[in-house]
Amino acid sequence: MLLVEFLREELELTGTHIGCDTTYCGACTVLLNGMPVKSCTIFAVQADGAEIMTVEGLEKDGALHPIQQAFADCHGLQCGYCTPGMMLSALALLERVKSPTEKDIRKAIAGNTCRCTGYQNIFRAIEAAGKTMRGESSGN
């Protein structure tokens, strides 16, 4: 059983999406011990003993995570299907690089780019989330 199948069908955590199902689109991205991986390309049994973070883990006590808030404020989506994976890739980046350059952001989400065009609002959202997480502002 693939990890994504385990998350969606067994745990009923359907926030993790299956996009291409061929290790391409990154819609199924989750964090495995803090590192983004494609959950369609790892077996559930391999996650034994690891900590998995899905999009459901971002919100705490009813409060949106700064990344979720920034994606909402900046309209950081087009169809929205890639959004859970985008946010987790963004989180992994912002936890590692406090003030990412545009190139850092491009590289970080290169495994999440899908069929839409215009990732500009997603860039803005990640930049805005970075500011909030650095304590520079409370978002827009």
């Binding site: 693939l2 199948e5 199902d21 061929t22 290790t23 391409y24 689109c25 990154g26 991205t29 495995l32 590192m35 983004p36 991986v37 494609k38 369609c40 390309t41 790892i42 077996f43 049994v45 391999q46 890739s89 992994a92 590289k107 970080a108 290169a110 495994g111 999440n112 780019t113």
Partner: protein, 297 residues
């Protein structure tokens, strides 16, 4: 998409993995990073009866320097190599590690898996072909080592026996005045490159004292264009000698037309990549810091 049913075995050591493979027979396969194997299983291009998972084998993912060699454990992830201080000293290793596929794949994919699969479009074999690279393998309680050139036999074919596994890859740190660069072009981050070129050279003033070139994705295995190397070895690096090397490399390439491009296009592309890689390698050999990486849209 779902793979066909298979039995899952978790190996505790390489020796145990080898014994399991021997016991289970040809239907069994090794699971390392899984970034090629799992998609192939989901597409049912591969349907192993058994998988022997190496991911829980301890001490198989290390990067350390020893007597001029960089020793890299077979299960070392591309992302670990991207960030390792030991790998940073050999610039070409970082060029490769930082550009394979995307972040998610680099967090899982391994150097040993890449070499053992021997996909003609994969990056590591091409890059490691221009360095002094030795592959260490384990079969039962026997260990053997071989140069990379003897390890890669053909497309998807290596010297590994069915129950033999890579334990470590060792790379000799190039000397002073040496510089390397790897450049690959791909149509999007997650895909294999259309073509790639690796160069490691050393300079004596303006003269190219030693050079190794490898071309990727334009043959069944990485191609070492010996005539291109000869066009530069012992000669001044000038417009003319570089052009002659590029021309010889283009002639040595043996690309096939496919969805990534026509043979003619790939031949042009690999020449252009080589030219840029040589320029970067020469600048690095002079001590300059040059940023390189996979080119993609």
């Amino acid at each position: 998409m779902f793979p066909r049913a298979f039995n899952y075995h978790r190996a505790g050591s390489l020796k145990e993995a080898s014994a399991l493979l021997s016991q289970l027979g040809e239907g069994a396969k090794v699971l390392a990073g899984g970034q090629s194997l799992i998609p192939l299983m989901k597409l049912r291009f591969a349907s192993p009866t058994d998988l022997v998972d190496l991911n829980f084998v301890p001490q198989l993912a290390h990067i350390r320097e020893e007597n001029g060699w960089v020793r890299i454990g077979a299960l070392t992830r591309h992302a670990e190599l991207e960030r390792a201080a030991a790998a940073a000293k050999i610039a070409i290793l970082r060029d490769c590690a930082a550009g394979i596929a995307d972040v998610q794949v680099r967090n899982r994919g391994t150097i040993g898996g890449s070499l053992a699969e021997a996909d003609p479009s994969a990056d590591w074999a091409t890059v490691l072909s221009v360095l002094d690279t030795r592959v260490f393998c384990v079969r039962g309680s026997n260990e053997r080592e071989m140069p990379l050139s003897g390890f890669i036999k053909d497309a998807y074919t290596t010297a590994l026996e069915h129950d033999e596994l890579i334990s470590e890859v060792r790379v000799m740190t190039p000397g002073k005045n040496s510089g390397g660069a790897y450049l690959a072009f791909k149509r999007a981050a997650p895909v294999y490159p259309t073509a790639s070129a690796a160069v490691q050279l050393s300079l004596d003033g303006d003269t190219c004292a030693e050079i190794a070139i490898a071309l990727g994705c334009v043959g069944l295995t990485p191609i070492r264009p010996r005539e291109a190397e000869q066009a530069l070895r012992g000669r001044q690096m000038s417009e003319k000698t570089i052009a002659a090397a590029v021309e010889a490399a283009r002639a040595a390439a043996d690309p096939q037309s496919d969805m990534r491009g026509s043979a003619e296009y790939k031949r042009e592309l690999v020449g252009a990549l080589l030219r840029r890689a040589m320029e970067a390698a020469a600048r690095r050999a002079r001590g300059e810091s040059v940023e390189m990486g996979h080119l993609y849209a």
